[in-house]
Amino acid sequence: MTAHDVAPEVAPEVAPEVAPAPESFRPGELEIEPDGTGHLLGSRCRSCGAHFFPIRQACSGCLSSDLETVRLTGSGTVYTYTVIRQSTPAFAVPYALGYVDLPEGVRVMGQIAAEPDDLAIGMEVELAVEPFGTDGDGNPVLGYRFRPEVTS
């Protein structure tokens, strides 16, 4: 018997049950900081500077495989949009969906948290980390939506 096998006379303090913080719905695409903000992750070609989302294994411009993973700018311009009124059971309708052009020259699809009448091609939006349904085990996860940019 070693000391480790001896039951402690006093039960250790049991940590209060805290649900683990929700994680990114797709960690390879959306990185979440401890403060709850997040970034989309993309690839930057070290050879020609082209950016891609999601992460690629080679650059489709110059075919270099010398790519680095970078955080993409979290604000951009709506290229086009729709309001989805029929979807899969995983998504409650209606919701706005758009393609957003980021300054790096990357077009990203995302939901847009805005009323249908407020949507417009060319509107400025920014990335927001938000509750985004559950994972396969039913645990809540975080995803991203674009929100109209607040001009101060």
């Binding site: 086009t80 729709t82 029929q86 899969t88 998504f91 758009g98 699809m109 995302g110 995803g143």
Partner: protein, 380 residues
């Protein structure tokens, strides 16, 4: 290299077939195509089967039903271009000199696989944020309206035209004509697209029997139609965001086909194009170079793409009217082209047609303009 001909075609009724499987439907169209070719079934040397959601070895289940098990068969999946890809593979096997008679089958039993909006594969990052196929096309429609001033009514006229053609096609899923008001009043799916802007969930199969020039000459009885080109491309990955109102993938796949066939867009007498949504026909027809960019909606309004117009588009009724059994679609387009060129299209017959084109585009993968695009050019 030998020329390739379509000697026989067959197609099931498109619609809902609750009592049949994809293999049942495939066996029916294959049997009809062999009979239409007028050949002994034992002459078929190989087969390709295009389908998307029908599970393992669907093609072999078809051969087992018709007594042709034993042949080399490959199942091919390229989303909505699966059947068209089967035709291309069959044509390559003949051009390579490996076979003289090959069956290209397309089949899909969709009504028992899913309902509602089709989505990209669930592994796709865009599917993960809520992309649906109608949604993606709706976004392209929105952008096209903004750039080219297409009206909502003009977009609806594409669906009205194709349903009108389908009403004359006994094998079409829908045989009821509709009005622009019907389209505008139908249930919203993804703004600005409504239900009648979307192709339906359909079961069906079609088969084409492809043969070498030598076999066409010996057994064709003058009914063989030359498959002058069958091309396939995958979309490129965007280095910079590109226009979503024009389709370089469609243009490039068509240019490959025009070059191979030795004809140009001006030689095309009619076309079957992949109108999975009303806006899709606009984008495709302009990508193919059949109408200048931005001008197709007004041309539809003037009746130029209707039967009797300058360049009929989707005389079969298209995916919107005839129905869209994913794997079956690309082969069914070729069935229509062959029947038109033979003069066997009944009420839909385009008089004097000599060159017909069929275009498919399937699949969505993040970052690329389109997944699989095919163009077939058939010449009388």
């Amino acid at each position: 290299m030998t020329d390739v001909y379509v000697l026989g075609v067959g197609m099931t009724q498109f619609g809902k077939h609750p009592d049949k499987t994809a293999a049942d439907l495939g066996a029916s169209s294959l049997t009809e195509a062999i009979a239409d070719a007028g050949i002994d079934p034992r002459l078929v040397e190989a087969a390709y089967c295009g389908h998307v959601f029908q599970g393992m070895v669907t093609g072999q289940r078809i051969l087992a039903q018709v007594g042709l098990a034993g042949l080399p068969l490959s199942n091919v999946e390229n989303a909505c271009s699966s059947g068209a890809t089967a035709i291309r593979e069959a044509s390559l096997a003949i051009r390579a000199g490996e076979h003289d008679v090959v069956a290209a089958i397309g089949t899909e039993h969709l009504t028992n696989r899913f309902a509602g909006a089709l989505t990209p594969d669930k592994s796709d990052p865009e599917a993960a944020v809520g992309a649906t196929m109608p949604g993606v096309y709706a976004m392209r429609a929105r952008r096209y309206m903004e750039e080219f001033g297409m009206t909502r009514e003009q977009l609806a006229m594409v669906a009205v035209k194709n349903k009108q053609n389908a009403a004359m096609n006994p094998l079409a899923h829908f045989r009821k004509t509709i009005t622009v008001d019907d389209v505008l009043a139908s249930r919203p799916i993804a703004d600005p697209l409504n239900l009648l802007d979307c192709s339906p969930v359909t079961d069906g199969s079609a088969t084409a029997i492809l043969v070498s020039g030598d076999v066409a000459e010996r057994l064709g009885n003058g009914r063989a139609i030359r498959l002058a080109a069958s091309t396939l491309r995958t979309g490129t990955v965007d280095v910079e965001p590109t226009s979503m109102t024009f389709e370089p993938l469609t243009r490039d796949t068509a240019n490959d086909a025009f070059e191979r066939a030795g004809v140009g867009p001006g030689d095309v007498d009619f076309a079957e194009v992949h109108d999975c949504f009303s806006i899709a026909e606009v984008l495709r027809v302009e990508g193919l170079g059949l109408f200048p960019q931005g001008e197709y909606p007004a041309a539809v309004e003037r009746g130029e793409a209707s039967l009797g117009g300058r360049l009929p588009v989707n005389p079969s009724g298209g995916l919107l009217g005839k129905g869209h059994p994913l794997g079956g679609t690309g082969v069914a387009q070729v069935v229509e082209v062959v029947r038109q060129l033979r003069g066997e299209a009944g009420d839909r017959q385009i008089e004097g047609a000599r060159v017909g084109l069929a275009h498919c585009r399937g699949g969505k993968a993040v970052g690329i303009e389109g997944a699989a695009c095919t163009v077939q050019i058939l010449v009388k």
